[in-house]
Symmetry: C2
Subunit: 334 residues, 2 copies
């Protein structure tokens, strides 16, 4: 790919100097399904990889209506005012079908969107390599190379996306709304175990009492859970984004978390485990698609499918035969 | 594997003659994780495959406490009294950890267990090829070869097991209990769309009124769903297994379903699609494990993992390098 060497260098220079247009274009390449774009994306990642990893990665999730964008708007303001650059990456599992209707990204985070210290990007759930997770991970790396010190990965609390997000962040924050079904019964199983902190949102006006009650419920419930192996005790707090109440406290808590994890080296160990996991996932995805490249394997599959459907051979035997054919195709290619 | 040819013939003869001991032993081979057992299981499946497929496969699911075993006991009695042989295969996702405590299989279906026309088998969720689904599918085939005309696949309504079961049955029956959280709000999303019929259980005594109300709710809800592409309209009924009420009606309904599907050829088409799906799944599982057989690929993986963790290369590049190494290992083996 020597022809694109110049292009790769241009991207590298642009991204490392914090050029937002180049960053946005590189992300588009990562998300693209075109083979040429994917090749270029791969080469860009290869050259920026030494400049990645220097951010604090924060996952934020919560049901629709909990006020995620209002929270992030206020949270982002706190962070940029402290002199740090923040990138907000939204993983929107709905965007493929509804073109963003759940998150309605056009009208969201207006203030933050205009802030030169902030960068906002919505990732549609695509069919590219590794799915949502694959390109969000690589987008994190690009943002880090571009100098963003705080990366927020926002996901709407539906589907399996939280589990993906958990595998790519340092700190996982669950937002909850009192009296909305986000109570101890209604909360999705497995989510609480993943959270490093829970914040009950919209704790203002008449809602304060209810928010405090929900906070107390969750604080009690947390005592029943296995403590985190890291030694960190998950916190439950309340906040009001529109009144900027509790937001600084949450930011301080996250910084405290980072300090504790760094002093026990668990910050770095978690990152390394995540990187291993990303590598394994990438490999499994590549592997699962690899045999599709060989026409001889494709025709063998069709023939075997007919044999299976007419009960001439078992599915197990057919799978073994197809694997043999794949081996043969790989060998004759080399 | 010529040494086991005699053994394979013995198994074939035993299974085809309906010998329950040989059937049970063959299922144990299918579930085994020992390579020799797996090889023998594969050979047995190869020779019995022409004798499979001649049953009606019925999936039955429902939350714990809905009365699945009482229902199946009564349902099985109806079937054996009509002169047909029934096999009940229980997929128990809990058995690995709790040794069967959710389903408590020892005290279940006592009558049916003694009936010479019935065969009951609990499949633990194992780590064998293809997971739960893999060996349940093959167990269905063995039971069919042994002459069982009705195969019931029972699963407890937790986890992803229903989706697996749906992919291996002709008819999917959802059992529900009135006033237990099995209402329109509480029922797991996606389950209703899979059901060919829903039966509200324990419709006896004081419970009748509640059961009827739940039935009416679901009948109304079904009108809002997309009709099945097969033309079949899912039915909602009530039943009482302990009073043998409604059980014969359910059996008649299932027979009616089979008749309709057969006359439109959708019965056979569904079976063929399922067989294709099984084949694909088997292949993907084999493929995902194949590279583990090559020590050179294993050491390359370890080396790449270190490079990824120290940010020397991207996960994407490392995955491609590992795939290349795998290709190389496959080629030099041949």
């Amino acid at each position: 790919m020597n022809s694109s060497r110049l292009q790769v260098e241009e991207y590298k220079k642009g991204i490392l100097s914090g050029n937002r247009v180049m960053l946005a274009r590189a992300i588009t390449l990562v998300e693209s399904t075109l083979p040429d774009d994917q090749n270029l994306a791969g080469e860009i990642l290869d050259v920026i990889i030494p400049y990645t990893g220097n951010s604090l990665r924060i996952g934020i999730t919560g049901s629709p209506g909990v006020g995620k964008s209002t929270f992030i708007e206020s949270f982002g303001k706190t962070i940029t005012e402290s002199g740090k650059k923040i990138a907000v990456l939204t993983v929107d599992p709905s965007s493929q079908i509804t073109r963003g209707s759940i998150l309605g990204d056009k009208t969201r985070m207006e203030e933050l969107g205009k802030n030169p210290m902030a960068f906002i990007r919505t990732t549609p759930s695509g069919q590219t390599l590794g799915g949502i997770a694959g390109h969000t991970r690589e987008t994190i790396l690009l943002c880090e190379a571009a100098g963003f010190e705080i990366i927020v990965i926002e996901t709407v609390g539906v589907g399996q996306s939280e589990f993906s997000v958990k595998s790519m962040v340092d700190f996982f924050l669950l937002l909850m709304l009192a009296g909305s079904g986000d109570d101890l019964q209604g909360i999705k199983k497995g989510i609480i175990e993943m959270a490093d902190a829970m914040a009950v949102t919209k704790a203002d006006g008449e809602n304060i009492k209810r928010a405090n009650a929900t906070m107390a419920d969750f604080q009690q419930a947390l005592h029943l859970l296995q403590p985190q192996s890291s030694g960190w005790t998950p916190k439950v707090v309340t906040c009001s984004a529109i009144h900027s109440k509790g937001i600084v406290d949450i930011w301080n808590m996250i910084q405290q978390f980072k300090k504790e994890m760094e002093s026990s080296h668990l910050f770095e160990i978690n990152r390394q485990n995540q990187q291993s996991f990303w590598f394994d996932e990438h490999f499994q995805t590549l592997l699962a698609m690899d045999h599709l490249k060989f026409p001889s394997v494709q025709s063998k599959r069709d023939a075997l499918k007919t044999l299976v459907q007419t009960k001439k051979i078992s599915a197990r035997k057919a799978a073994q035969d197809l694997l043999d054919k794949y081996h043969q195709a790989v060998s004759s290619k080399r």
